[in-house]
């Protein structure tokens, strides 16, 4: 027998369930308990970068809207730098931008929204410039292990076409499932996105 390696095994995932709001967004569950709450607003008045709204809906395999889903986003700041010590790239840190937020879908409209800034491009480990994107993590009743996906931006056509990860998506027609559409409403920039958990237009999910 060789020496044992003795690694531990990751704890198994379990669904977040229908009442995930209690723990993560108690105001949505219907009560007020914490002095400080996390939210879907990532910006302060001092945050650097272009203000954008991300606005999405999540659909199941029958095409029905999920009204009990929870999304978290994690993104770089306007200079392409993550607010974390492991990011040692050269872009400037923005002390007014944590880069993370969470939102539950509205119980009526199913809309998920984030108020954030458009991230800058990051450089991958091969030194290639990536198209800007936002990382998304999705949990809900019926989702046994959190789903990872990304949002790229429709107005970054050239960068998207050259992006090393988008180019891994096969067949290429599935790449569009990762792209949010830029629009404007009342003078504000809104990127709309759709996540299909299943079906002919199933969103690309990543094993990271």
């Amino acid at each position: 027998m060789p020496q044992p390696l003795n690694y531990l095994k990751e704890t198994a995932s379990q669904t977040a369930g229908p009442y995930v709001h209690i723990g993560l967004i108690p105001a949505m569950a219907g009560f007020d308990i914490f002095e400080k709450n996390f939210s879907n607003v990532l910006v302060t008045p001092n945050t650097q970068g272009e203000r954008i709204t991300l606005e999405g809906k999540v659909f199941d395999g029958s095409g029905s809207l999920l009204r009990d889903v929870l999304l978290e986003i994690w993104q770089a700041n306007a200079a392409g730098r993550y607010n974390h010590p492991a990011d040692r790239s050269v872009g400037a840190l923005d002390e007014d931008f944590r880069g993370w937020g969470r939102a539950g879908s509205d119980f009526e409209s199913g809309l998920v929204t984030f108020e954030t800034i458009k991230p800058g491009a990051i450089i991958d480990k091969a030194g290639r410039k990536c198209a800007p994107y936002v990382n998304i993590w999705i949990v809900a009743r019926g989702i046994n292990i959190g789903l990872n996906t990304r949002l790229y931006f429709s107005d970054e056509e050239a960068a998207n076409a050259a992006d090393p990860v988008l180019n891994l998506v096969e067949p290429p027609l599935r790449r569009k499932t990762l792209i949010a559409t830029r629009g404007e409403r009342a003078g504000k920039v809104v990127y709309s996105f759709t996540i299909n958990l299943q079906g002919p237009d199933e969103t690309v999910f990543f094993d990271v």
């Binding site: 690694y7 531990l8 095994k9 704890t11 198994a12 995932s13 379990q14 669904t15 977040a16 369930g17 229908p18 009442y19 995930v20 723990g23 993560l24 108690p26 569950a29 009560f31 308990i33 914490f34 400080k36 996390f38 199941d60 395999g61 029905s64 978290e72 994690w74 993550y82 607010n83 974390h84 010590p85 492991a86 990011d87 040692r88 944590r98 993370w100 119980f107 990051i122 480990k125 030194g127 994107y133 990382n135 949990v139 809900a140 009743r141 019926g142 989702i143 046994n144 292990i145 959190g146 990872n148 990860v165 998506v169 958990l197 299943q198 199933e202 969103t203 990543f206 094993d207 990271v208």
Partner: protein, 260 residues
């Protein structure tokens, strides 16, 4: 000074940082111990499970980084579910302490990471606008809390033991008593939600959600043992629950500057 000028050398030896075989990525997730997305015994998963293969990508800086939280994000009662929603007395139920460590797969503690938890009250009822179970709401119990792990990955909180409750899956499906956990780790690829169960609960082997886990050992790791040593005499029983997040090939201090 005579600088030595070696002829043929590994170019990394001239790097200002020492060579390391580590790139900062997380160990590949072993999906055989996790519940599959499609698990028909848990009916809600049928329409909510992706059917295409996941696209595997190497960890980039996006995955090895993640949100950083601090004590400023929390309030003083956040880890005390007996007191953090008390209005005119303590909540009803068995008083318990839940404690343990957040580790990674190498066995190292994960320090300063956010752990969030939520649960039903002692009667099995959630304080949630969508829960209509006939057991009563407890006016003194909110049912959620959060804590930051210390330098060694240790966390603890105080609560009442949640009750089991029925739910719509099969006609007579009951959830074992459980507490939901949400954990971050240091990188977004470690993000995990799971549930803790209680040693000896007879509903564990028949739970359609728990039995989505295909691996017996992985399932057992969700069951917290009674920990009499950590119990407070004449006050609270204790349960021990360690959580393991994915291991990482380095700490970030060991990364080459362009290495991630």
């Amino acid at each position: 000074m005579n600088a030595q000028a070696p002829a043929l050398r590994d170019p990394r030896l001239n790097s200002p940082e020492p060579f390391t075989p580590r790139d900062g990525g997380f160990f590949q997730r072993d999906r055989t111990i996790h519940p599959p997305a499609y698990a028909p015994g848990y009916k809600s998963s049928v329409l909510r499970s992706p059917r295409q293969a996941l696209l595997s990508i190497e960890n980039s800086v996006s995955e090895i980084t993640g949100p950083v939280f601090g004590h400023n994000d929390l309030g003083p009662l956040d880890n005390d579910l007996i007191r953090n929603y008390a209005k005119d007395g303590d909540p009803v139920g068995e008083r318990i302490i839940v404690h343990g460590r957040v580790l990674d797969e190498t066995g190292r503690g994960v320090p300063n990471t956010l752990v969030e938890f939520w649960q039903a009250n002692a009667g099995g009822r959630y304080r949630h606008r969508k829960d209509t179970y006939l057991a009563p709401i407890d006016p003194n119990f909110g049912g959620c809390g959060r804590a930051l792990t210390d330098d060694t990955g240790y966390y603890y909180f105080r609560t009442v033991k949640p009750g089991p409750y029925p739910w719509r899956n099969f006609v007579n499906s009951w959830r074992p008593a459980h507490i939901h956990f949400s954990v971050f780790g240091s990188g977004f690829a470690q993000r995990l939600i799971t549930q803790m169960y209680f040693e000896g609960d007879p509903l564990i082997p028949v739970c359609p959600i728990l039995t989505t886990i295909p691996d017996k050992d992985a399932l057992d790791c969700l069951v917290a043992p009674l920990d009499l040593n950590a119990s407070t005499p004449f006050d609270s029983l204790a349960y021990r629950f360690d959580i393991v997040l994915r291991g990482q090939r380095s700490t970030y201090f060991e990364n080459r500057p362009e290495g991630n």
